[in-house]
Symmetry: C2
């Protein structure tokens, strides 16, 4: 292959690349996970590397200091390779936040409350193991091995439709006779039929695990669940490596069109495989014991997972290839569990409302209630569902990752050391970190808190602009205001932790997109916020989100607090219910079919509503009774 | 690889073999199809070859003349290779009867009468093509490509369970848009669900073909059927190449245990692939247009097809691995049709009563009748079913291939030039060949006729022994009598066509096995032949079998002629009905479940009954009113 070599230090990894490949892509090809967040736009400045040998080209990024440039620093996303290079990846650049520390994993567990679908309903996991003691054949009863097994399975699971692959049938002769006709059959559900996936000698029923994955645009969360105990064993999370091609789904779809869907698929599958390996290693089980992976996620991520083209999702009329893929073998997409293990990608609603939302509806049961509910799922997109057991309508607003703590210069995931809570103490801001560790960045819930408290303290105005003289922590660099929450000497990473006016603008944009979407949906339904009985606020914030702050910034309207509930990651929660109960899987399919998708991109008044919401909390202060206090202090610029 | 090379002339093929491989096996490995029939036992003497170079060893076969031995002739099945060889395969040895000439193929068609399951029942082929004109998506209707397609399919076939593989889903983006949403979906039935196997642009519904195969131990028959026209396009047949490992199923099972099932599978799959290629080439269609292969056959052949071990069928309690395999992709076993095409191996009853018999029950409808029927399917095994719509019982007798014209020295398939009918004219025997061509051998129906007429003419006695002086065509060589039906100068192959006492003994053994099986079954049911309303005689005899002769030799009892019907190849006939009608497929499954298998190997009195039937027509002459005439002439030796 013509091209150039790139050697990475300290990993001592060498790869060959085609001319013009960016150094960031090369890093990804070398399986080195970086901390970059902007998707290769040169915005976040987090992909700094040092070129030790070779021609790094002439262009420099404004994100680098003169000192850094003299030392050979480059932004990997901006450097196109036209020479053999030796590159050092500094510690601060390398994978700092890629993996969530084990000690923080419990924050992504969602407890056990959710596993009972309804009182008295027996669990029917998507993959079950049945221990069968068959009668050995005699001349009087010499039915075929396969039929002997299938008849026993049919009696146990009460269904007539059982399929068995050729390899399993071929294996029966030995496994039945060697085990004295005492075997464990692994039974997977595939649409309306069951499949005998595996037949093992003896009783292995005690080892049957499932992995339930929420594929977020920014974060991937994987839960290891025990199909027998109906409980969560462990949880792990990581950043979505696809972010190398863009923070938002649109950039990734463009990358998929340009570079091939399989590049995006490979990154995602590798992330999931790594999470599974960590779950397996940390809990003394084997990959063989995992017989199914159940995935929820937005429709674009589901397409990446399955290797399906997304170009028609990106363009009007926004048509996905599928929202209800059949279950198939995990190995078909490269997911490494039991070789005959299955992959269930749960059903979604449209190109912009995916299975994370159908799972959210299932988890919050808004489809079963006579009362009216509104579910907001805050991720890189903000999806909204309104409805009850009679009807459901959904929409999606492009929020960007600001509310997840991922777009800010000092943003980070909800892990140890992340500032997750900010309060006003004696007119100054105080913060609290996850695990009470030295601060190293601000996570999503912390960002929402921080903006709310800056507004409350009069440090920013309703447009999010820093007020000169409002605090000695306000600085202005190149004309852009910033508030230093943690001074260099106080931080764990020996850097200031701050929020800029640009960061705040991103937060305002995100919440405005979501709020406007709610308003448009309600308007179409001829309803008002007062008609909504339950507001469910969902998202991957770990265990904490402050409803007051969310209201203060105008993410949600100022209604009775009892009507608002933060419900956490409903995507993984709902996916787990689906993994455990057949009724839930059937229900998901009904939700898919019966939920109307309303396309905001076709709504002429959406932009107007969005503009009205581009203030803190909103231009229409009447919507936010509790915001009157800040109104007294701050004026609109 | 250590070993020796074998060069075959005139094919100019070279292969390498391990020391000790027989030359017959080497021939099979070189894909040269021979005419041998005895399965490598050195009995038939048909695998003669000439060793041109190399050491052929010292042993010689009594099947060779001194002149032949001097010329370098060997029997390939008897020569173990311990030297590099150059071998010539004489024309008479090479594949003379492997392929049935096209002009004879029509004899294996079974007409169109059978395709109507019941008046008014719409055909529901196992694979259907649907031309769909979908509405292109709009903002108001932007459902996923996959769901748009599946909804249309569901409406057309009236089912909710439709699966679609990942590759098909991935292909939809282009195929729908390029075709203006006018596509043809190929829908296959898999157990209780349907699968979208293929989606093509435009209307391709006019090209949808199925191949229906009857896998006999001795002969394989393949019919090309048009799924739209519900009719047979063409039929081809060939010898089953597995015969290289034994004439009967037991020898082949032993070979499978010794050499690996995949060797037997490969031979069978190659046979079927070659038949398919001939069907395709002869009818101007493409392999792509064939979307399904439906196979019927005895359970051992079905196991070979699927590559399943047969060792437990061979030993008590005679347990097969499966009698109801799920449909799967044809490519999984190596059958070459449309890459996503399906293979249906129809359900059988037990290790010794296979899907050829369930298909036979379906074809003769004995399971629907209030009257009592008896079905005999004469192949290398003779299977018997007795019953009505209330109950069905089945058994299997090991007949050997004598009644198929395959064990005799002068036996051959029912093709042009085969003697198919023998009559007594002026005290001498006259014959009639297929196509009125010069005679070259005797096919199954001719053998049965010949034995009957020899008995009638007093040339053999009731034990099958030649009566000295009964005809000037009776000779005795090495003490074994033979009757020369065609003198050398009269035959096409410039050889005598004759039948020996050994040949006749094989016929008697075969018919005795079948007759005894009928007697035992009736005895167990406390019934007599007189209780049977319909006798159905089935087998791959081409279009002709003389009921009188079958009765005269004691293959079937001497009952009212109106009660006896020769129904031809009911295996391929029933398989075709199953290929065309879902109701028939469901019925086959009921037949499988509801038919009792009676194991003759466990019947103490079977051997006694068998011995009683070892005469022409039987020791108990009362059973054969029409046999009194021969009784007057012939006495038991």
């Amino acid at each position: 292959m013509p091209g150039f070599t790139v050697d990475f230090l300290p990993q001592n990894r060498r790869i060959r690349v085609e001319p013009g490949t960016t150094l960031l892509e090369a890093t990804s090809m070398a399986n080195i996970t970086l901390n970059n967040l902007c998707g290769g736009d040169g915005i976040c400045g987090r992909c700094k590397m040092i070129v030790r040998q070779g021609d790094a080209g002439r262009s420099v990024s404004a994100k680098l200091t003169r000192e850094e440039i003299q030392k050979g620093y480059v932004l990997a996303c901006q450097l196109q390779i036209y020479d053999d290079l030796v590159v050092e990846v500094p510690e601060e650049t390398f994978a700092r936040e890629k993996l969530i520390a084990d000690e923080d994993a419990e924050r992504f567990e969602s407890g056990d409350r959710e596993f009972e679908l309804r009182p008295g309903v027996e669990p029917t996991p998507v993959v079950r193991k049945l221990f069968l003691e068959l009668d050995p054949p005699t001349l009087a009863d010499n039915s075929a091995d396969h039929q002997r097994l299938v008849d026993a399975v049919r009696r146990r699971i009460g269904t007539s439709s059982v399929q068995t692959g050729l390899k399993i049938v071929a294996s029966l002769h030995d496994v039945l006779r060697d085990s004295g006709y005492r075997v464990t059959a692994t039974i997977g559900e595939r649409s309306n039929t069951y499949e005998i996936m595996n037949v093992e000698p003896g009783d292995t029923t005690e080892r049957n695990y499932m992995v339930v994955v929420d594929i977020g645009t920014t974060t991937i969360v994987a839960h290891l669940v025990d199909a027998n105990a109906v409980g969560t064993v462990d949880a792990k999370a990581c950043f979505n490596s696809g972010a190398v091609y863009g923070r938002e789904v649109t950039g990734r779809m463009m990358a998929a069109e340009k570079r091939g869907i399989h590049k995006l698929q490979a990154l995602l599958v590798t992330d999931i495989n790594q999470l599974i390996v960590r779950l397996v290693e940390g809990n003394g089980i084997s990959l063989r014991d995992i017989t199914v992976v159940v995935c929820a996620g937005n429709t674009v991520m589901s397409h990446f997972l399955l290797g399906l083209p997304t170009e028609s999702i990106r363009r009007a009329p926004y048509v996905p290839l599928t929202v209800e893929p059949s279950p198939f073998r995990a190995v078909e997409v490269g997911i490494e569990i039991n070789p005959r293990g299955l992959l269930y990608s749960l059903p979604g609603i449209s190109g912009w409302v995916g299975s994370d939302i159908t799972a959210g509806i299932l988890a919050t049961r808004i489809n079963e209630s006579g009362e009216l509910s509104l579910l907001i799922d805050i991720g890189t997109n903000g999806e909204i569902v309104i409805g009850n057991r009679e009807w459901l309508i959904s929409a999606s607003a492009s929020a960007g990752p600001a509310l997840e703590g991922a777009s800010e210069q000092c943003g980070m995931r909800a892990e140890g050391g992340a500032i997750e809570r900010v309060s006003v103490v004696d007119g100054d801001l105080a913060y609290q970190t996850i695990g009470d560790k030295p601060p190293k960045g601000i996570c999503g819930s912390g960002i929402i808190d921080l903006v709310a408290k800056l507004l409350e303290a009069g440090i920013i105005n309703r447009s999010g602009m820093m007020q000169n003289g409002s605090s000695d922590r306000v600085e202005r660099i190149d004309g852009i205001g910033r508030y230093v929450l943690v001074r260099k000497e106080e931080s764990r990473i020996r850097k200031e932790i701050f929020i800029t006016e640009t960061d705040i603008e991103n937060v305002i944009t995100a919440k405005a997109a979501i709020f406007a979407a709610m308003r448009i949906l309600l308007e179409r339904l001829d309803m008002e916020f007062a008609d909504i009985d339950h507001f469910y606020l969902a998202g991957s914030f770990g265990s904490y989100l402050d409803i007051e702050s969310a209201t203060a910034i105008g993410l949600i309207p100022n209604v009775d607090r009892e009507r608002i509930e933060f419900v956490g990651n409903t995507s993984v929660w709902g996916a787990k219910i689906a993994a455990f109960y057949r009724e839930a899987r059937n229900e998901l399919d009904r939700i898919r079919r019966d939920t109307t998708y309303y396309d905001l991109m076709g709504a002429a008044d959406y932009v107007e509503e969005f503009q009205k919401a581009m203030f803190l909390p909103h231009t229409d202060i009447e919507l936010f009774t509790g915001a009157e206090r800040t109104e007294r202090i701050i004026h609109v610029d």
